[in-house]
């Protein structure tokens, strides 16, 4: 698996070699830890899913995991991006502080006036709150939030670890506050110790949206045949704006976005739409299913990374509608074909045959594969931070035979694999970024788009291509080895 100037990026990658690498990696562990980790990694075989990866298990203590917690899933992913609410990190200071401004879920509006996502609200628990309980303080917080931010459309209360341990009743506080303040006040028991990763935070948040929000509003205007909701787009670097743009160009009305640049009343009226389009399956498939069951709204997955997948998705979405939309979809695809080809013509020659190792969360480990392929690159290893079995089932067919598929990797595993497989790019998170750059390996943060973006849809692909190129081909890599 040495790095060569191969044009075929898969050359030398076989199931056997990869499995051998897996074994060598597992040798790093104690017997006990080895047994725990072994089922989480495997050489892929798209035709034989018997190799199923185990997932959604507790992280092995003492390894260097990339995972966050339930609170992170609730604050950072589901609730935080809803722009017109005050999201209170309920508990000690840290959780809210660290998650403040670090997920790039952009919003439209005026901060502190009608949108609040870029702000950090917390109850800043002190010792006395732990001892005597924080319910009274919480109530005061709700009142103060409403007083200081009169345009807020609601309040979410995102519990941190202590809240669940000291027996506070945030549900009761929330209920009373909602009544008195006449806005939704949503208690969310997303304590960080719950579950094995941020994934449970998504689920708990979904539950609270289901219980407190969905169906509590109706759109002011009549419902149309082309009304849809965009589910699981968090508007990282403007992703949702890019996605919304082409959906609207093909004639659909995006009535609500869950939850990037989200508005709580629109989310509350989502039960009226005709179709739920789900991008990040992991974080929100459950809600799509709930809406299907309860309101009969069909849903479908799609993929807006790279022109090939975008075109495919646009056609699949259009297939849910009438001929007008189908024609529109073709027009949209046609309109963007040339500009996308220009992007490919510019960057593919510089990226052809390059290989990528992906380790991120949500939808990206499989959804970005096509975008890399549009640039002539191959994903030779892909893993999820907090996936479930259904994620892996959707991944095997996308990955080539012999490539590595893995779950909740610890940093030492990644190091081992990168050393052996020498990908031209590692696409992972900020905690991994500088590790691999120190090792001389090009890297892009693929949670935050490395402070760039959008990467979604046609607006996103040229930026994605440019960024991948600059990461891999930056001349700074030529400086790493000193000549002395």
């Amino acid at each position: 698996m040495e790095k060569t100037n191969k044009k075929n990026p898969l050359e030398g990658i076989t199931k056997e070699k990869t499995q051998e690498l897996v074994e060598k990696t597992l040798d790093l562990y104690t017997e006990k830890a080895r047994a725990k980790r072994a089922p989480h990694m495997s050489a892929n075989d798209p035709e034989d899913s018997g190799c199923a990866i185990r997932s959604n298990r507790k992280t092995v203590p003492g390894v260097m995991s990339a995972r966050g917690c339930a609170y992170a899933g609730a604050k950072g992913v589901v609730w935080g991006p809803i722009r017109d609410m005050v999201h209170v990190s309920h508990g000690p200071i840290g959780c809210g502080y660290y998650s403040w401004g670090t997920r790039r879920n952009l919003v439209d509006g005026t901060m502190g006036v009608d949108v609040f996502s870029a702000m950090q609200f917390t109850s800043d628990f002190q010792e006395r709150d732990i001892v005597y309980g924080g319910d009274e303080k919480l109530r005061k917080i709700c009142d103060e939030a409403k007083e200081l931010f009169p345009l807020t459309k609601g309040i979410s209360i995102l519990s941190e670890c202590p809240v669940g341990l000291i027996g506070d009743d945030i549900n009761a506080v929330a209920k009373n506050a909602a009544k008195d303040l006449e806005i939704p006040v949503v208690p969310c028991n997303c304590e960080g110790f719950r579950g094995v990763s941020q994934s449970l935070g998504h689920h708990i948040s979904n539950d609270t949206i289901r219980d407190h929000i969905i169906g509590t509003r109706e759109f002011a205007e009549p419902i149309g045949d082309y009304d849809i909701a965009l589910i699981g787009d968090y508007n990282i670097g403007g992703d949702a704006w890019a996605s919304k743009k082409i959906l609207e160009e093909m004639g659909l009305n995006v009535k609500a976005i869950w939850t990037g640049d989200g508005q709580i009343e629109h989310i509350a009226a989502t039960h009226q739409v005709k179709l739920n389009l789900i991008h990040c399956y992991r974080s929100m498939n459950y809600m799509a299913k709930v809406m299907e069951e309860k309101y009969g709204i069909p849903w479908m997955e799609f993929n807006f990374f790279g022109p090939t997948q975008i075109a495919k998705s646009l056609r699949e979405i259009a297939a849910q509608f009438d001929d007008k939309i189908k024609e529109n979809a073709e027009k949209v695809i046609a309109k963007y074909t040339e500009p996308m080809q220009k992007v490919i013509d510019e960057y593919r020659p510089r990226l052809e045959g390059k290989t990528v190792m992906v380790f991120v969360g949500g939808l990206r480990p499989r959804h970005t594969i096509g975008a890399y392929e549009d640039l002539g690159m191959k994903v030779i290893a892909s893993g999820y931070e907090f996936a479930h079995t259904d994620d892996y089932d959707r991944t095997y067919p996308e990955m080539d035979k012999g490539t590595l598929v893995f779950d909740d990797a610890s940093e030492i595993e990644l190091e081992k694999w990168v050393e052996a497989m020498r990908p031209d790019l590692v696409a992972s998170g900020v905690k991994e970024k500088y590790v691999f750059q120190k090792a001389g390996v090009p890297f892009r943060q693929m949670h935050s788009w490395d402070y760039s973006g959008p990467y979604h849809a046609y607006d996103g692909f040229p930026i994605f291509a440019r960024d991948i190129d600059m990461a891999i081909n930056s001349p700074t890599w030529g400086l790493v080895k000193a000549p002395f």
Partner: protein
Amino acid sequence: MSEQCAVKKVTEITTEEVERIKEWINTEEYKEKNMAREGLVINPAHACQPLGAQLVAHGFEGTLPFVHGSQGCASYYRSAFNRHFREPAPAVSDAMTEDGAVFGGQNNLFEGLENAYTLYHPKMIAVFTSCMPEVIGDDLTAFIQNARNEGHIPADFPVPYANTPSFNGTHIHGYDPMLKSILNTLGGDKKVEGKDNGSLNLIPGFDACTGNYREYKRYMKAFDIPCTLMADISDSFDSPLTGTYNPYPGGTPLEDAADALNAHATIALQQYSTKETMKWFSANTDAPVETLPMPIGVKKTDELLMKISELFDKPVPQELIDERGRAVDAMTDAHQYLHNKKFAIYGDPDWLLGVVSFLLEMGARPYHILCSRSNKKFKKTMQELLDTSPYGADCNIWINKDLWHLRSLCATDPVDALIGDAHGKFITRDLGIPLIRAGFPIMDRVNLHRYPTIGYQGAINLLTWIANTFLDQVDVTCEDRNFEMMR
């Protein structure tokens, strides 16, 4: 929410409402309401204890920081460092989950220690806690002893540990117990009566500026005095890119740290983040133990150099005297750009005292001084500092306030610039006031943490940033007829 009322329609906020509130939040009336807040904290200027503990851990040779608690905590601390330093921050957690709440975290700790030791080959594992074990009352002393007894880690392997509850104090308060524990673990029993190893223990306190650590070492080299710089993160968080990843570059040598009680003297350079550690020194050694102000600005740097000179009976090196003179020169040459300018400053107490001291030296006015978690003693100390200078008159000290308070203060009683970490940028955007970035964290600019803010060069750096920010502003905002070649 489950009431049977008619479902309401989706409403949109009108432009008029937005405009009205946008103006309102800049008013005196709003400020009063805002300052009266009792429960809600908005945009705080501080993090939690474990972050400080982790910083200390990174600062020791071959040391792996180990979070006893939920794994998400570790991810948060790590990424906070990653973003500020743009460097790796290797740390593990023992990933406690629900069952930890029921059974306690001992098993997680056992397994975690064993795995961490096996996988990452540390020379020391520094354990500290996040909220969960603190709430449920895990007994780290017992757990770690048990871990040794049961063979999860070797009997003599150093595992210092610190209780760092997030619901108490700030990141600077986690620094202290972790450092104390490390020193006690390594060298608590190594005091040799009458021994003086001739070196200085220098304790920077919580400081995320790698340039400062390098500067301290350079100063001691200039003095030609051996120095054990404690929790030295200068290489840990500013390591060369060579193509080979090393999880433990640099750090205070464990051997040196172990000999700390036999040092000639100990100096701490922050008072609020080192109290316990300094008590420990005082209790365990008869050598001089001094807590000095953080050496920001000329006078506070003078104080440090004089103290070193006195403790070691060595003159201040000419090299540093010349540097001092060059700093004073730069400050004199640029005084007119800062004189009487008003500043809002927010951050940790020791850092604030230093920056305020520097501003007063420049004839600038530290007009709003905000420390988000502090106490009356700090307020008194700061007031005493302000009282030393006419430029401190009418300046305001705000403790236990946050950046949303500061926004109101700056909206109603404006300043010429803010000095603080990146979190202040929203104030500067809203109010059109420039932000001079210093402190922790800075995740929206590059390399600033590489430049010392302490010492004489630090004074020049601060001066350069501040003066040139104002000059940039003049060049951008002046009328055409005032756009000039010279400034």
